[in-house]
Symmetry: C2
Subunit: 320 residues, 2 copies
DNA sequence: CTTTGATATGCAATTTTGTTCAGCTAAAAC
DNA sequence: GTTTTAGCTGAACAAAATTGCATATCAAAG
């Protein structure tokens, strides 16, 4: 139970200042120096306040006109994969920024599409983290957030537990977490964990969710699942050798979207992949070149209703 | 009928470029130089594209956390004036920017509160122009915009006709205009104009609106009504001598909100002030020191349900 | 073919913004 | 009382954005 400290404490706890500075800077168009006079703080501090405001999503940038090409891709994706909705954003120029861009779009989508009373089942990933980060902190009545994944033992900045908690806080939701590690040490342990009453209870709640939000992971070197070290490099190789192209909800799947037969997949403490079909709306948030294969796999064998992605991935998915 | 040319033609008609540049700049955080490489245009052109994007409201800045003090003012205003809703934004540091800030808030409010099927009766003013400008260009089904004011004979950039048209275009609404000058030369002419079938028809439509959006004008020197010259300086003085504190829907009113008895008020071609009560939701969008008196007057004798203003004005209204 | 005028482009100077680093303060530990 | 540490702060520098101005481009008119 130890270290889930809410490290949220921002460097500038004064929301007042952040909001005021943001108004003067972004809306009124004043210079940082002028703002420093008005607020009576140093110019550099104004700069830091503004940085923090962006960082924490106090200011949100919204781009209204969509890019023509992206709109066409959205249409094609909907048709090709039977989606009810698709959002395609321009690809990031720097590969590593893809999660930022897609997360931004996901935040906008969620802000518009989460309604009072909704129950959100949440996956995990860098893209989702960005999405949650950019979400407005506006309470939505009677919402619930349920994590579909166990937590990390060594508390990391990017953590299913942390993400669920942060989302819940933003929209003022009740929050249910899986009080187990995402990967048990051995399959029998997993079974023991999962059969616990408290865990079953959370899984049951997830099953009753009306919205699932999740992303997929690839084997690329900067993937968190590869770096955090709870899967050994040797296991990653074995998985790839067994045909895995990536993971969805921490289940490793092959190119057809089927769960690969490997011990790791028997150690995962998560909402069962095949049960996603019980959730009416499934939102898949992922993009970037390196995710194309696993996204195609996920779309092939998992019911996805909404896809939020970028141009690169959209094109890749459509060019078979 | 002459010169209502839609001068909208922006310097950068390519919405594609604007949207792409905005994504890379504001969301991805790239430098303008980097973007110029990606888009294959000059660095300075990128800058100009971004300016245009802001200018035309392709990028929108939204500040989520509100300023504590402003929230308190909102509560007080609601109580004091029996409003159903109030929005208070920080005051602009430069007096002349007040319309920018308040317009921004009004745009956000309208974006959230205009629903399919709504009929919007529209007033006129610089603040409203900014609001419309910042509104997302997103069609809202079956909406209608009706101008509550006549037009200007010498087409000016700031013009009731132009504003209504622009709003209609943004939300994909049908648009009805009063095909007469806002001030007739003589009272009898006004009566003749207003009794025209086409005019009556538009006024009738305005009366059936469910939302009225309007602002008030003061006598300050930078007020458009003073500068555009369709009211003579001598008349402005007479009006003030007669107790007028400003105008609402181009009707000049005294401190109690009653229409001042003066010829100018018998020449105005506009939706009748007292008939505002026929419209369920009336949104008053105005602020800044110099508008306090006329805002108080308007609130005293006109049914206002929503007030969007700034700190200065809010404080002024509350300190009697 | 040249002129004219309107528009677009990029250079260069200037302003604004971002970053790094060393010093300062104050609370906690010794 | 001194040391340690963490957190701020702003000066100085580096990078980026902005603006005025001169030049280029192109279409219509002469």
């Amino acid at each position: 139970m130890a270290a889930i400290e809410n490290e949220k404490a921002s460097r500038f706890p004064d929301a007042e200042l952040k909001a005021r500075a943001a108004w003067h800077y972004y809306v009124e168009g004043l210079t940082q120096e002028r703002i420093s006079e008005i607020l009576g703080v140093g110019r550099i501090k104004v700069h830091r306040i503004l940085s923090a405001a962006r960082e924490e999503g106090v200011v949100q940038f919204r781009i209204r006109d969509s890019v023509v090409e992206c709109v066409q891709l959205e249409e094609s994706l909907k048709q090709r994969f039977g989606l009810s909705h698709a959002v395609v954003v321009p690809s990031a120029a720097d590969r590593s920024n893809a999660p930022l861009m897609i997360g931004h779009a996901a935040a906008a989508y969620l802000a518009d599409n989460v309604n009072p009373g909704d129950v959100i089942a949440l996956g995990w990933g860098r893209t989702l983290k960005f999405a949650i980060n950019e979400l407005p902190r506006r309470p939505i009545a009677r919402t619930t957030v349920v994590s579909m994944l166990g937590g990390l033992t060594h508390a990391q900045p990017l953590n299913p537990t942390e993400s669920a908690w942060e989302l819940a806080e933003k929209i003022g939701a009740e929050c249910y977490l899986l009080p187990v590690p995402v990967y048990a040490d051995r399959p029998e342990q997993r079974d023991a964990f999962m059969s616990q009453r408290s865990v079953q209870d959370v899984v049951f709640r997830a099953r009753r969710a009306n919205i699932a939000v999740l992303s997929v992971g690839s084997f690329s070197s900067d993937s968190p699942i590869a770096n955090y070290g709870f899967i050994k490099p040797s296991e990653l190789e074995e998985l790839q050798a067994a045909g895995a192209v990536g993971d969805i909800l921490c289940h490793f799947i092959d190119a057809e979207g089927h769960i690969v037969d490997h011990e790791v997949n028997r150690r995962v403490c998560a909402y069962p992949l095949q049960d996603l079909s019980d959730i009416p709306t499934t939102i898949l948030v992922s993009g970037g070149q390196e995710k194309i294969a696993v996204m195609r796999a996920a779309l092939a064998n998992t019911k996805v209703s909404v896809l939020i992605t970028d141009e690169d991935a959209a094109k890749g998915l459509l060019n078979r």
